[in-house]
């Protein structure tokens, strides 16, 4: 497609290189330096999309992120929704299409890399326009550590859109000198294509750098596509510029309607004319630059429609010289056209009254309603805004610790003023940081501006179309109009925050960059209050949309959360284990043999452990080494039972409670020496229990001479379980007398295997004869394989966590956190035997004496046996009971408790469950009911120990 609207020369584009791209299925060309918007405009295309609710044609209305109109979806090289044509840098092979307000997420995984970098500076300057560059130069010259970030592809800010001169040279020459000077300072980080999108506490700011988006398919794979900069600055200077504000009138959404400043940007930066015949509608001085520049570039400027009663004299004279008609005291009331504006409707305007309109032919209508300082970051830093009557805009209204605003973001709208403000703010910032400015720091000079004429604050033109504001669009992305605001106010809403939520204005992709202040103004007008009383809605991060992929960075997939694996992991993988996540750990759940499902595998593994020998990788158990002369004192205070009486060489099971008397963890304790214990915790409780111990030692008992350290990763643990375990362990460690007399239950022995230290412990989590084998992870695979070899004659069977759970549940051993929920005492678990009556105090003891803990109706751990011998009760199922008449009580049916663990038992040849049931121990022998899939399954309440209640198997 040809580019009839490209100027013959000029702009920041590389005309020697032509790029091909596709939009809405049509081929286009452009140049490096173009955006998708500028390249489309060069071909004469304004409309890019249709609106979300009304399906109205929408076009490019601004040249950067404030554009509410030009929403596109990129398809190639990687699908990405909800981008703005004005911010997509053009590259060869780009395929995109317009969006009806809503994008479509990619259905292919994003193969690009995203990352994050932390960086610390003295001064963070946001924005590389005249104020930001000056501020960065002043700070850099003073030797400060500086970061300068700017969202555009090159530095310059507003200077890229104009014809200014600084220090007697074209402004962009000054810009490139400034950039070169900054590059010579080793402590300056200067990033373009980098949007500071959030400011948080204590000088923390997040910025998104788009590193390869502009390269399209040529992007090197090894370079991250986007990078989040996590910047910590002692002080922040925001020089983020200002957004031009439209004026609302009927059919102001028609393609071809554009902000006047944007037209200047397209002309000067991209070498593109927005049309052939322009009408310029303004309330302030700035749009005259657009009118005159376009005129010089060959656009016929049909009229400057000046809403003020008189045009500023020097502007009027310039227009007269150029032959441009100026219509003071006039407004644009509406537009004509279908998919592109063909006429502007112009009417006289005085004292708020609109006269009869007449149509002025044009193919582009440029609008300026003044400038809104981009106060987003200041506002995010909780800075309060102030309405400036002279500017007709909200400006920073107070000092904020650690953040200052410079240039047009602070309401300074002329170039010389912005340069001076940048230097002033930088010097104040340096002074607060006790950094002296450099002697050679010099203020760049720019021509003194002609004193501006006060702008007219005009939010919207009174609607003469008869539509009562229904086609006067305030938020183009949300299709929200003046009529919608009127409806909100009519419904009684007064707060601007409520109006926002009622109308959805400002909630779209652009977060109200053009519509927010307009809404404040129009709402104030409708309410008959000053706009300063209405205020603005809250500005929140992100300033512009940020992809979740960028926020996630490298923390995706297996890097999202640390994956902990045991030293045997590769062996488990090779053995075909099915894994489950236990906290961060990957644990084998079961080891299916060919053709087995989980149920079959678990029944087989359980049978092996109960009748022969099984082996488990229990390395994830938490292990805490507790050392010091007062180690036993600490453990006596934290465990419910007595630990200090434990003999060296012995093991004791213990329960820990919170001060409220509820169980928080359980496990075994090995006494290694008089002053040293190995505390075993649950897999999930390891970190929590170490924290718990340290908290008590540090905050309550700093006098105790004791230290606790995690040794979870320093020991692997292999329980060898079953009636043949003694044969296996005895065969592999012939120097250990494994007889019950020499090596009784709940004792441990040290030995070695070919010089490798090994610790054996008679601990059982299954009720079977069992030996736990402890060894350094370095020897895990070797020792495990030796155990398998030694066990081969007995059919040793590796088993996973599922079998471990079945075996322990058959014995009524609770899993803390599964069979308990923070409201369960040791007594509720039937573990009164583990609560010392001798110790004067321990954590939780006093709570046991509370009345509520004596209540016989407390939920207690019991076993459940489904009467049909078939149903595996879903864990979490509620338990109900029938009345004496065999009927359910009337609703709401009282719940007796719930199923906490439920499995199929090989040993019992039927399913069984553990449950917390009100007054459960009193109900043993009763039949209660559990609803499963809509039917009530009768279950018998039993004691919690269903296999070997006498404990006969423990010693083999």
């Amino acid at each position: 497609m040809s580019t009839p609207f490209r100027t013959p020369a000029g702009g920041r584009i590389d005309r020697a290189t032509t790029l091909q791209f596709t939009f809405d299925g049509l081929g286009f060309t452009g140049h490096p330096g173009d955006t998708l918007a500028s390249a489309l405009l060069a071909a004469g295309r304004h409309q890019v999309a249709t609106s979300i609710k009304l399906g109205r044609p929408r076009g490019i209305a601004a040249a950067w992120a404030e554009d509410p109109g030009g929403l596109v979806q990129v398809e190639e090289p990687f699908p990405e929704p909800m981008l703005l044509a004005s911010t997509v840098e053009l590259f060869d092979g780009l395929v995109a299409h317009g969006l009806p307000g809503q994008g479509r997420l990619a259905d292919v995984p994003d193969s690009a890399r995203y990352d994050a970098v932390h960086h610390h500076v003295d001064v963070l300057v946001v924005g590389a326009g005249p104020a930001g560059l000056t501020a960065a130069l002043t700070a850099a010259r003073a030797g400060a550590r500086v970061a300068l970030v700017d969202e555009q592809s090159e530095a310059g800010g507003s200077l890229l859109s104009g014809t200014d001169r600084i220090d007697g040279v074209p402004a962009l020459e000054w810009v490139s000198n400034a950039v070169a000077e900054l590059a010579r300072h080793p402590e300056v980080l200067h990033l373009q294509r980098t949007t500071a999108f959030g400011v948080y506490d204590d000088g923390f700011a997040l910025a998104l750098e788009r590193r390869t988006d502009h390269l399209g398919a040529a992007a090197p794979k090894e370079v991250s596509r986007q990078r989040v900069w996590r910047l910590r600055a002692r002080s922040i200077v925001t020089a983020t510029g200002a957004h031009e504000r439209p004026v609302v009138f009927a059919d102001n959404d028609r393609p071809g309607t554009m902000l006047a400043g944007a037209a200047r940007t397209f002309l000067h930066r991209y070498g593109v004319l927005p049309g052939r015949e322009a009408v310029v509608f303004t309330t302030n001085d700035s749009a005259y630059d657009a009118a005159l520049d376009l005129h010089r570039a060959g656009v016929r400027v049909q009229a400057v429609v000046e809403a003020r009663p008189e045009a500023p004299p020097h502007r009027r004279e310039e227009c007269e010289r150029a032959g441009i008609r100026v219509l003071p005291g006039a407004v644009v009331t509406g537009t004509q056209g279908v998919e592109r504006v063909t006429h502007a409707l112009v009417a006289p305007f005085s004292d708020g009254q609109v006269g009869t309109s007449s149509a002025v032919a044009c193919d582009v209508l440029l609008v300026s309603g003044g400038w809104n300082p981009a106060v987003h970051l200041f506002s995010q830093a909780r800075g309060r805004l102030r309405y400036d009557e002279g500017l007709g805009a909200f400006v920073p209204g107070e000092e904020v610790d650690g953040l200052s605003v410079a240039g047009s973001a602070a309401g300074v709208l002329d170039l010389a003023g912005c340069l001076a403000d940048g230097q002033r703010v930088a010097r104040e910032t340096l002074s607060a940081l006790a950094i002296d400015p450099a002697a050679d720091d010099r203020l760049p000079s720019a021509p003194e501006p002609v004193a501006p004429t006060a702008p007219l604050v005009l939010w919207r033109v009174p609607d003469t179309s008869g539509a009562e504001g229904a086609t006067q669009f305030v938020d183009l992305q949300r299709d929200a109009t003046v009529a919608d605001i009127a409806r909100a106010v009519g419904a009684g809403l007064r707060s601007i925050e409520h109006v926002k939520r009622y109308t959805t204005i400002g909630t779209a992709h652009d977060q109200g960059k053009t519509s927010g202040v307009l809404t404040s103004g129009i709402t104030a007008e409708l309410l008959g209050v000053p706009v300063r009383d209405t205020g603005t809605t809250t500005f929140r991060p992100p300033y512009t949309p940020v992809a979740f992929a960028a926020l996630a960075g490298r923390d995706r997939g297996s890097l999202f959360d640390p994956e902990r694996v045991t030293a045997l992991h590769q062996w488990h993988v090779a053995a075909g284990a099915v894994f489950e996540d236990v906290g961060q750990w990957k644990r084998p759940r079961y080891y299916p043999e060919p053709g087995e499902d989980m149920e079959a595998a678990v029944l087989r593994e359980c049978a092996a452990a109960r009748t022969g020998v099984g082996i488990l990788d229990g390395s994830t158990l938490g292990k805490i080494d507790v050392q010091g002369p007062d180690a036993a004192v600490l453990l006596d205070r934290l465990y419910t039972n007595l630990i200090s009486s434990l003999k060296v060489g012995s093991v004791r099971y213990g329960v820990m409670c919170g001060v409220d008397g509820m169980v928080i963890d359980d496990g075994t304790v090995l006494r290694l020496a008089e002053d040293r214990f190995l505390v075993l915790t649950t897999t999930g409780g390891a970190a929590k229990i170490l924290d718990w111990m340290e908290e008590w030692v540090q905050t309550e008992w700093p006098d105790l001479r004791v230290h606790c350290t995690s040794v979870t990763e320093q020991w692997v643990t292999f329980p060898v379980v079953g009636p043949r375990s003694r044969d296996v362990v005895g065969a592999l460690f012939p120097d250990v007398n494994v007889s019950n007399e020499a090596f009784p239950f709940m004792t441990w022995r040290d030995t070695s295997l070919e010089g490798v230290p090994v610790r054996l412990a008679r601990i059982s989590f299954s009720g079977e004869l069992a030996f736990e084998v402890y060894v350094s992870p370095w020897y895990a695979v070797a020792v495990w394989q030796r155990l398998l070899e030694a066990g081969r004659p007995y059919g040793i069977t590796p088993y996973g966590t599922e079998t471990m759970h079945v075996l322990r549940a058959e014995k009524g051993y609770p899993i803390i956190g599964q069979d308990t929920d923070g409201t369960v005492t040791p007594h509720d678990l039937g573990m009164a035997w583990a609560v010392s009556k001798k110790k004067p105090d321990f954590v939780g003891k006093r709570s046991f004496a509370r009345q509520a803990n004596q209540d016989p109706r407390r939920k207690q751990l019991v076993g459940l046996l489904p009467v049909d011998r078939q149903t595996v009760l879903p864990e979490g199922s509620q338990i109900v009971e029938f009345l004496a008449d065999g009927e359910l009580p009337p609703p709401p049916v009282p719940m007796l408790g719930h199923v906490t663990s439920s499995y199929r038992s090989a040993e019992l040849a039927r399913p069984f469950a553990l449950a917390l049931v009100k007054g459960g121990r009193e109900r043993i022998g009763d039949t209660v009911h559990v609803p499963v899939n809509g039917t009530l399954v009768p279950v018998e309440v039993t004691g919690s120990v269903l296999v070997d209640p006498e404990g006969a198997r423990r010693d083999g």
């Binding site: 948080y200 001060v659 924290d691 908290e695 905050t699 006093r846």
Partner: protein, 92 residues
């Protein structure tokens, strides 16, 4: 991301810290001597102060030390940090 001044490490990011609730609520000398109500006050009852509040903090992902701090619950600002064995600072 707020910076919290650990008395042992200096300012560190808030994500490294763990909140420990109201400070200066010592474990009772003799819990058995307390009534149920008095014990319940120790276990469950804490002030819900608007403004300056003495709190316990733990530099969990750093030096793992506990310390006390006076923080303004309306602004989140830390006004002072001090060792556990030091008294609550007198603030104006």
């Amino acid at each position: 991301m707020q910076l919290i001044p650990c008395p042992w490490c200096g300012p560190r990011e808030e994500a490294e810290f763990h909140y420990g609730g109201q400070a200066h609520v010592p474990y009772p000398d003799d819990p058995a001597a307390l009534s149920d109500e008095e014990w319940a006050h120790y276990v469950f009852f804490r002030d819900n102060t608007k403004g300056r509040f003495a709190e316990r903090w733990n530099h969990n992902a750093g030096c793992r030390r506990w310390f006390n701090a006076v923080r303004d619950t309306t602004t989140y600002r830390f006004e002072s940090v001090y060792r556990l064995d030091h008294p609550k600072p007198v603030t104006p």
